[in-house]
């Protein structure tokens, strides 16, 4: 099936129907493996057992940023290539990405309290992640409160692309401003700085979360397509009633 076929909502729905159970199943299996590995992973010599929070906090951060990247590609699809399902993809991804960013901030605070002594600090990375959450909420407001869904989607797409500048800021903020949050230890030049016994469970959990993201995303896209069908049929219903009355 070519990519162009995915532009047809009906074909997309049948694709989702086939793929979705596998995504849920795969996510569940990977999570079970990941949680077992997390449970058995060694404690950090400085932070003790609280490093177990990292196995949620870091994947959630990655997914929060990945969600915005998915939305940015969808925004280009809406504005530049006029792909019919692009705005559906963007609208569906926003609440999911926002939820993972929220998880990142909360678990970060719960991790910070026993290790740094404070729930929150206004350093560059925390602040830019908070700004990311605020931008998510703004985009969600545009998608969901617009009277004309088409206009709302296009406005949201523009805001998505404007907000995309926040992603490199988040990534490099720990390098540019050396304050409290620890610098990059996984994706940096010179290779990873984490021991394999901690790295592998982290990657497994990240994979599980990613599969979960896409399962939720496809399901939300399916729901959005159905919602638009309901709206179309309601419009036909209203028109028919108006004509019958006339």
């Amino acid at each position: 099936m070519a990519v162009i076929d995915l532009a047809n909502p009906t074909r997309f729905l049948s694709l989702v129907q086939r793929v979705l159970p596998w995504l849920w199943g795969a996510a569940l299996i990977v999570f079970i493996i990941g949680l077992m590995q997390t449970f058995n992973a060694p404690d950090d010599y400085q932070q003790g057992a609280t490093v177990k929070i990292m196995y949620i906090h870091v994947p959630a951060a990655w997914l929060g940023m990945m969600g915005w990247s998915v939305m940015s590609v969808a925004a280009l699809g809406t504005l530049v290539w006029r792909h019919p399902l692009a705005d559906v993809a963007g609208k569906a991804a926003a609440p999911i990405g926002a939820a993972f960013t929220f998880i990142c901030l909360i678990t970060g605070a719960l991790w910070g309290r026993p290790t740094w002594g404070t729930y929150w600090v206004w350093d560059a990375r925390l602040t830019s992640m908070l700004v990311l959450l605020l931008l998510y909420l703004g985009v969600i407001a545009l998608y969901w409160t617009a009277e004309d869904p088409g206009r709302g989607s296009r406005a949201a797409a523009v805001l998505t692309l404007v907000g995309a500048i926040n992603l490199p800021i988040i990534k490099f903020s720990v390098d540019w401003w050396n304050t409290l949050h620890q610098p990059a230890s996984i994706m940096r030049t010179g290779g990873t700085a984490i021991a394999p016994s901690i790295l592998y469970p982290l990657l497994v959990m990240a994979l599980g979360f990613t599969l979960l993201f896409f399962a939720l995303h496809f399901a939300a896209m399916r729901n959005e397509i159905l919602r638009r069908r309901v709206r179309t049929m309601r419009l036909i219903q209203a028109q028919t009633l108006a004509e019958a009355r006339a």
Binding site: L134, G138, A146, E147, R154, A155
Partner: protein, 222 residues
């Protein structure tokens, strides 16, 4: 007279005649800054310390409120359609409206900020630093705000939606503006780095703002 200048002058005349314009923005700034000591308490040393932050927040909120009507009035009477169809590039037209908005809203804020600084017990030398950061930073607030104004005009929902969209984008300007102001007043951190970043943010917004706002208008008003 170039079309650009004509547009700027037209917007300035409209802003000053209709709805008070420059004076209204300055008045709101005054009221907000006046209310802060009521909320914070009359401790003069505390007020002097947070004075720059209060001035910056007041400037941000006053700019935000004035943005609401920036495109909405033109959209309602059809002149926005004319601008979009005209020969002047839309980005340039929007930049012109941004310049007019800053001249009628941002600049008056900067000019009355020393008076308000007196009320907040900010000393004179410090006030000069704050005014400098404001004059450099308020264009960024206006031009970033253009994006939110363009996004919300097409949706016919002003006010709160505009604030929700614009405030996260202006957070860096606020951070560096207050940081530069405090560095200049209290030290010991140097004034230079946050101030130059503030200048950079303003210059960037002069370009990014009109382009993003033009895209928002074109796509939003199809």
């Amino acid at each position: 007279m170039t079309p650009f200048t004509a547009l700027v002058l037209r917007d300035m005349r409209l802003a000053v005649r209709v709805g008070g314009g420059a004076l209204m923005g300055a008045l709101f700034f005054l009221i907000v800054v006046t209310m802060m000591p009521f909320a914070v308490g009359p401790d003069l040393k505390l007020l002097a310390r947070i004075g720059p932050a209060i001035l910056w927040l007041g400037a941000l909120l006053a700019t935000l409120l004035a943005l609401d009507r920036l495109f909405a009035t033109d959209h309602e009477d059809g002149s926005l359609d004319l601008l979009m169809m005209g020969r002047m590039p839309l980005e340039l037209a929007i930049a012109g409206k941004g310049v007019a908005h800053w001249l009628t809203t941002g600049l008056p804020l900067v000019m009355i900020s020393p008076v308000l600084g007196l009320m907040l017990n900010v000393e004179l030398k410090a006030m000069g630093v704050v005014a400098l950061t404001l004059i450099v930073g308020t264009p960024a607030l206006t031009f970033i705000g253009l994006i939110g104004a363009a996004l919300s005009v097409a949706l016919r929902r002003g006010g709160l939606l505009l604030a929700v969209l614009v405030l996260p984008l202006t957070i860096p300007v606020l951070i560096f503006g207050v940081s530069a102001a405090n560095a200049g007043i209290v030290g010991p951190e140097p004034f230079g780095p946050p101030f130059t970043i503030l200048c950079a943010l303003s210059l960037m917004s002069l370009v990014v703002g009109p382009f993003a706002a033009a895209a928002a208008l074109r796509f939003g008003l199809e």
